[in-house]
Structures are given as C-alpha cells and as structure tokens.
C-alpha cells in the first residue's frame, strides 16, 4: 500500500482542512473533498468527474506541477463563473505522491 499524502483544502466557508488522501485508490481531488464531506453533497462533483460541470472548480494556491489541462477542462473553465488564473477542476487532479502538500481553495458554488 502506498502512503497517504497530505492535502490542504480551504472549504467554501473559508475553513482550512489538512487531510490524508490515498494515492493508490485512483482518487481525484473532487472525490477527496466528497470523501471528507468538505462541501455539501449535491454541490460538488455533479457530473461525476467528467469535466462537464464546474462544480468542483478550485484555486490552486501551492506551486505544484499539476497535470496538464486537457481541452475539455479548459473549455469548461471558459464557461464557468468566478474563474481565476489558478482555477482548475478538482476532478482532473489525481492524487499522486507528487501532490503531497497541495493547497487548494474551493471556488464558490454557482
């Protein structure tokens, strides 16, 4: 079993949570948020993780080298609201050992 990594997530109320995320369960950041119930069910991961809604939009505050943005994620962010330069869709960020120490903030619900 691979060791868990630490990830810091600031929820939509501004509360910071540093949590353990498994790297061997093919989980993405959106799923980690749901697993820890850091956003109410039904307000995150609506499309299930297909980059087809922007309910898992987050702002990446740390300098991690993130997986390159695919066309569908980029297109979705161009239709989303509250988008900033460091916006990403949580469902497109896989939990790998390289993501240890990642810091993100959840974008407002829209």
């Amino acid at each position: 079993m691979q060791e868990d990594i630490k990830v810091t997530i600031i929820d939509r109320d501004g509360v910071s949570h540093t949590i353990d995320a498994p790297t061997d369960m093919a989980m993405n950041l959106m799923e980690v948020v749901r697993a820890y119930e850091l956003a109410p069910e039904g307000t995150i991961g609506i499309c299930g993780g297909m980059a087809m809604c922007a309910s898992c939009q987050c702002y990446v505050n740390s300098n991690h080298k993130l997986p390159e943005m695919q066309d569908d994620e980029e297109a979705m962010l161009y239709e989303a609201f509250y988008v900033k330069d460091n916006s990403r869709l949580g469902c497109q960020i896989q939990m790998t050992p390289e993501m240890d120490g990642l810091e993100v903030e959840l974008a407002p619900e829209s």
């Binding site: 039904g42 307000t43 609506i46 499309c47 809604c53 297109a75 161009y78 239709e79 609201f81």
Partner: protein
C-alpha cells in the same frame, strides 16, 4: 387534473424503470420533469458518455440507456409532464396527493415517488450585476418559445452546445444574432461548430470573441448589452439588442421539494431502507440518487432496485389487503396497457421418429 396510480417526480433512469415495475403490478404512472426531455442527467449532461456498470451491458451510452428504458416501459403508456417543475404537494382527505407544477398543472395520485436525482435542473446565471432586473424583460436563461425572437435582435452568450445550437436555430428566426463567448474556441458537436462558422461567413451570425457581457442596458426592458472584448487592448462597447440569452448550462437544485416537509439530510431525502424507501410522509417515497440511508450508493443500478421494492409498497397502498405473488416475466409474460403482450415462445413438443 391528471390522475394516475403512481406519480413519479423525475424522468431519469430510476423514474423510467419504475414505470415498468409498476406496470407489471397493473399500476399506471405519470412522470413530471423540469427538463424538456426524459432521461435526466443521462440525457442532459452526458448522453454521449459510456456507462460500464449497468448489469448485462458491458458498455452503454447514457443516451442509449434512456432510449432502452423508454422502449422497455412503452407498453405501460406512461404520461409525461415535461418542462415543468413539481412545486407543491397537498395531501387530500381521501389520502391521495395533489402535486402542482410551476405552470399550474395539477396531478393527483395515491402514491408519489420522488426520483428527482440531484434535483431539478436550473439555469446557471452569469454574474452580471443588474441582470436580475431584466429577467423576463428581455433576459431569458432558457428558450421556451423561439417565436418570441422573430424579427428581434438577439445576443446569446456561452460556448457550449446549447449556445451554438440556438444561435444556428435563431439565425433563421431573429433579425440579428450575435454570439458572445469568452474565448475563440467553442465546445460542441463538430457539425454545430462548422454550421456556426458557415453562418458567420454568410453574415447571419455575428461572433464576438473573446469577450463577455458585463452589463445590461435598458429601461424596464433590455435594449442592449455592454460588452468587454479582450485583445491586444481590451475594449468596451455596447451592442443594441431586444433579448439577451445567457446559456451557461444547468445545475441541479433540490428546489421546492425541500419544502415538502420531508426529512432532508445532506441534500437528500431520508427513507426507510429496511423496507420500502418510504419517506417520513406515508405514501411519499424517494428512490434513486435523491434519497439517503446508511450505506447509500448513488448508482443507477441501486435506483432500479429501490424502484422495484417501492412498487410493491405502492401496490399495498393502492390495493389494501389484496393478495399478490411475485411473478417472473419469463413465466407470465408482459401484458401492456396498450393491449400488447410479450411472452416466451412455446416449447415445441413433437415426436422424433
């Protein structure tokens, strides 16, 4: 007043399969859905995406699953109230319920099954400061009647399929169509993108990209939008129009159901999973993604199971004390309300010399 045995709120996969299971028990169903077509998320969000965990289908597209479910329940002649959202529920003295939609359509049934998924799909509204002042006064988030745009000047904002498809459609109806998107690339079916390109070349659609609408202009009714276009230098200008149609997709909201007096937990309706998925209101059930109980999994296949058990309880409510025994479709066949009958072919009994 539309009368039925089981009134189903939500025409997604769970709601559609309920029609079949209810039909086997000779119960009629009517479905209400806020979307204009059946299938729920499967049709609205990801019709072209494959699903791999529907039993016996190694792979099926979400849109095809909807088609198959409609075909499977067809002989039980479900009624549909589409494009309307269930708004209120009133319990009558005789124990039945009247559910009224936002458009005032009334439905009466002894059993209500809420199969509402994540809720009804509501349009996502762009963050334009004064947009609320112009809602239904030239700003429409959903196109209900394209005729109102005839010979009008229309501005559409958005970069997905609905923005493309409506721009194409309205190019033949409206006097002017302007499509505004935050970038030059659009995401949609290839033929839609190509068609918009063609209409742009013909001068039937004006394209303003990369740009966004930052304000609405008008006095009581829209007569223009303020636009900010990016480029080497950002520029701001106004576009004269009669209608502004922002199409930024839909997001589900539990909505009015949250005020029906049901026990809600984590944006879902608590049900009795030991028995029949009934809510705290006797006669009202919740099945599929909309319900919650210990160990709940939001999977289509779980919704099918929940629907099946719920129909047994509905049968008892509608036919109190009446005996019933589970029948296998292979043995009994399927008798449709439309007079059709499906049955296993008879075995051949013939002597072999």
């Amino acid at each position: 007043m539309i009368s039925t045995d089981i009134l189903i709120i939500g025409a997604g996969p769970t709601g559609l399969f309920t029609v079949f299971e209810a039909g086997l028990l000779k119960l009629k169903c009517h479905l209400i859905d806020a979307l204009p077509q059946p299938g729920g998320q499967c049709s609205e969000i990801y019709p072209k995406k494959p699903i791999y965990d529907i039993p016996a289908y190694p792979e099926i597209l979400a849109g095809d699953l909807t088609d198959k479910l409609l075909e499977q329940c067809k002989q039980f002649e479900p009624g549909f109230t589409l494009g309307e959202r269930a708004e209120t529920i009133e319990r009558q003295e005789d124990g039945t319920f009247i559910v009224t939609t936002n458009k005032g359509t009334k439905h009466q049934a002894p059993v209500v099954a809420i199969a509402g998924g994540l809720g009804s799909f509501e349009p996502r509204k762009p963050l334009i400061p004064n947009i609320a002042d112009f809602e239904d006064k030239g700003v429409e988030y959903i196109i209900k009647d394209p005729e109102i745009y005839r010979d009008k000047k229309v501005v559409i904002a958005g970069g997905g399929d609905s923005a493309l498809d409506w721009s194409i459609f309205l190019a033949d109806v409206a006097k002017e169509v302007t499509l505004i998107h935050r970038r030059n690339e659009f995401r949609g079916h290839l033929d839609s993108v190509e068609k918009v390109q063609e209409l742009k070349n013909l001068g039937k659609i004006s394209l303003v990209t990369p740009a966004e609408v930052i304000g609405i202009i008008g006095n009581g009714h829209v007569n223009g939008v303020a636009v900010k276009q990016s480029g080497e230098e950002d520029k701001e200008f106004n576009i004269e129009c009669d209608h502004f149609i922002p199409l930024f997709g839909l997001s589900p909201k539990l909505g009015p159901i949250a005020n029906w007096g049901l026990e809600i937990e984590k944006n879902a309706i608590k049900v009795n999973n030991a028995l029949d998925y009934q809510t705290n209101i006797p006669g009202v059930f919740a099945i599929g993604d909309v319900n919650t109980y210990p160990g709940k999994l939001k999977l289509i296949l779980c919704g099918f199971h929940e629907a099946t058990l719920m129909c047994q309880a509905a049968y008892q409510i509608i036919n109190p004390g009446k005996k019933y025994v589970l029948k296998y479709t292979t043995v009994s066949g399927v008798d449709g309300f439309d007079g059709t009958r499906k049955e296993a072919p008879k075995a051949v009994v013939k002597k072999i010399n």
